[in-house]
Symmetry: C2
């Protein structure tokens, strides 16, 4: 039976993915420094074995044959999702993938070196090569999937994301933020001068910060029998659903930085820990995509972790671990701090979308060929000045060279961040319509009702629906900017 053959294949692929995930998390947390070369060799080899198995020629026949077998509803869904997954995986010829992988690796290595030297000109030929290959890739994916080229690139990260749906939403958001960023900054100014909060600057031992993080993780629903917290250079969520590895990094003089990292990664972890276990080896049982995943981390970090109601409960917990009895008025200016800046990853939730929209607009032009790679710095600078009033023309390192995505050839990924932020706001709005006292529950440290809603609507759904369908089913409406802009207004507006 062909479905059974696919099931067996999925179990083998899951074992290799398990190894790759744990080896990856281990590399960033527990590996000895000299173990990197052999680790890279082993992981490349295992990834190769995974690819060979996942793209074996007989699989296409199995998929076709399985469609004529008697399948129950879940099996049929699983098969459909497998077919889409398989199409994404096999739409590029092997020789192209090899050529592209080599170009991406060279470009990424060069970028690490030249970004530090602020050398755009030196980097340009490598990026031109990467973009030229991305255009080829987009064309091949587009033909195989019957999509527009940029849509075909996004399809790798979130099934169903389309420019036709996203662009109007991003336009709405951009229009709102044009006026709102100045308003939020003025409001912040006014509030800060009106009150004198106590400073948060103290020195807090790493083990105390860790205990605080663990207490918060447990409270918001992290299952410690299926996961753990460690330390790494950058926070991440890795591992496998049965053993989710999240990390943060500690600065003794900035406890909020580590804690917000913990809350963000815990959002990713909750999604992974609550995926449907019976289908864990099939694409159907895996997280829907990058935008949905980001919506879960941002839900935890922004909708919960920066919510004043949350801090009514959290301040005594902080006091218990760090010994400081800060008030709401001390903490909110820090968790709600807004500032115009050059760097996306340092941006707050108000200005962040403008960084993403800038990249989304430029990469669509790059993929279509309407923008030449050589013209990126001017185009970037023009948009930065328009959206955030900042110039990067003499500073490519903090302009178009700041992210690893383009040097690594990942085009179509950036929208996920802001789509995730909007989805999180839309989910929170839907949740509070159904659970009107969610804020009050949170202020008492009760997250079970909130998590039940998220589990039912998002986590347990795995990849049963496309990203837009999942959001519509969960929230009762298509994705729109209004929920997010109302959220920003309520939190940062002049009101």
């Amino acid at each position: 039976m062909s479905f059974a053959k696919l099931d067996d294949l999925c179990r083998k692929l899951e074992a290799l993915e398990h190894a790759l995930s744990i080896l990856g998390a281990d590399e960033a947390t527990h590996m000895a420094v000299g173990g990197g070369e052999k680790r890279a060799e082993a992981m490349a080899m295992l990834a190769g074995m995974h690819h060979v198995r996942a793209t074996a020629p007989e699989i296409a026949d199995w998929i076709d044959a399985a469609e004529n077998e008697a399948l129950n509803e879940d099996q049929a869904l699983a098969l459909g999702e497998f077919r889409r997954h398989h199409a994404n995986l096999t739409c590029l010829p092997v020789e192209f993938v090899e050529r592209q992988t080599a170009a991406r690796m060279r470009s990424e290595q060069l970028w690490r070196d030249l970004r530090a030297k602020n050398d755009w000109t030196g980097f340009l030929p490598a990026l031109e090569n990467v973009v030229s290959l991305v255009r080829e890739e987009a064309a091949m994916r587009a033909e195989k999937l019957g999509l527009d080229p940029y849509d075909a690139l996004m399809e790798q990260y979130d099934l169903g994301n389309r420019v036709a749906d996203i662009s109007p939403v991003f336009e709405d958001l951009k229009g709102f933020l044009k006026d709102f960023v100045p308003e939020a900054l003025e409001t912040q100014e006014r509030r800060l001068s009106a009150r004198k909060g106590r400073s948060l600057s103290g020195v807090y031992a790493v083990d105390k910060q860790r205990e605080l993080g663990l207490a918060m993780m447990a409270a918001v629903g992290f299952d410690f029998s299926h996961g753990s917290l460690a330390v790494s250079h950058h926070p991440f969520c890795g591992g496998v659903p049965s053993d989710v590895r999240i990390t943060t990094r500690y600065r003794s003089t900035d406890f909020l930085s580590a804690l917000m990292g913990v809350l963000h990664e815990t959002g990713h972890a909750l999604y992974e820990q609550n995926l449907p276990k019976d289908w864990s080896h099939w694409p159907l049982g895996k997280a829907r995509g990058m935008a949905v995943h980001e919506s879960q981390s941002l839900f935890n970090e922004k909708q919960i972790g920066r919510n004043p109601a949350f801090w009514r409960w959290a301040l005594p917990v902080v006091e218990k671990h760090l010994g400081e009895d800060w008030s709401i008025d001390d903490i909110l200016p820090h968790v709600h701090h807004v500032a115009r800046g050059l760097i996306r990853v340092d941006a707050d939730e108000v200005t962040y979308p403008l960084h993403v929209i800038l990249r989304y607009e430029l990469e669509r032009e790059l993929v279509s060929g309407r923008l030449a790679v050589a013209d990126i710095p001017e185009a970037w600078d023009a948009k930065m000045r328009e959206y955030l009033g900042l110039s990067t023309i003499d500073n490519p390192a903090d302009g178009p060279m700041q992210d690893v995505h383009w040097p690594g050839g990942a085009f179509g990924y950036f929208p996920s961040y802001t789509l995730g932020a909007m989805m999180a706001a839309q989910q929170w709005a839907a949740l509070t319509r159904e659970i009107p006292d969610a804020d009050e529950a949170m202020a008492r440290g009760q997250f079970a009702g909130i998590n039940d809603w998220r589990r039912e609507r998002i986590w347990s759904q795995g990849s049963r629906f496309s990203t837009p369908e999942l959001i519509e089913r969960a929230t009762g409406g298509k994705l729109e900017a209004g929920y997010f802009t109302r959220h920003l207004k309520a939190r940062y507006g002049a009101n």
Copy 2:
């Protein structure tokens, strides 16, 4: 070129072994408790992939063809070792391996349950099944390898170990210990009543014990850029040569237990870290076998770690970390404590070999069929009374049910422990002939000269020679009991 095909195969197998080793070490150290089921599934799957690749039908042809290719000396050695390895791996039919694996797993699970209940009778049928399969296995291995059945079983663990060589050495040792155990116990009694050493019983925080262990590891040559120390239920050495994971466990009231675990596992780690890197993916580049591996851990633990000269250097290090200024006279009664006991893993270096010889003698009888499984308790009891003056007839849990080896079907493994102890003593004797001031160097905390000798003679040799050849080349003579008995006499004798 067939040698190149084998080289490529070895790299793929090494990647899977890398994953299995790190996943195994991770399971015992960092895995969340609920992650075990999926981990077991992933590891079983990866082990299956490894077996399928390592025993693919075309490999035998590649080996034959490679022998006609122009190979340098190392390549020829690598090929020969690969052939032997391959023969060991392929001498059992797949259906037999599957039947045996299932029987072993059932028997091991049953054993865990019934050992706790001291229920030999309930366990008997499962063990009879395992032994009957081991007899079949030994016969098949014997035929394929042209060896006697028990030799063919030992061949899995150390190439070249033969009953004809080992039995006379074990007989010598047994004859010596018959009189020496009482002598050592009397000597201990006399020494203890003659002097009043300070007690070691204090409470020492785990982090201080850990720092002490790390300091000792660094001093004796552990390379922290290629390895680390963690905590697990039982101490072990795992991971890969480029990233060796050793563990210990801490009892706050017994710092010696954790420290001796660290020194023992560091011996295994030094072997792994100093294997020839260019051949790491071929059997040639791997550790020779279990007896040689145990000789390295016991060299560290017994020849170094329980040597009075070592403690002249180590006591100030202990004082620095634990704050206690014990004298040599305080510490030696603990590191040289001797006692007759029922349990092998708790035994000291004087009585330990009798536990092993008892098992060696019984398992040879079991494999040959001269001893029935049902008769083990009486046979065990008779030997325990003869060798150590203790009876286990009413206590099978602390008699023939104490070890996992027989329930798990690992026959031919036990000799490794005592062969390792003898090899370590013989290596130390050879080393001190060439480096007469080794004791003095150790007392100054200088281990480089000792490690240079071990690296040249043992570690860097990988699997270039059979176990007996390796020992003879390293020490200038065949394995004999005299070095070990002289070592015991000098340390524990009446003199």
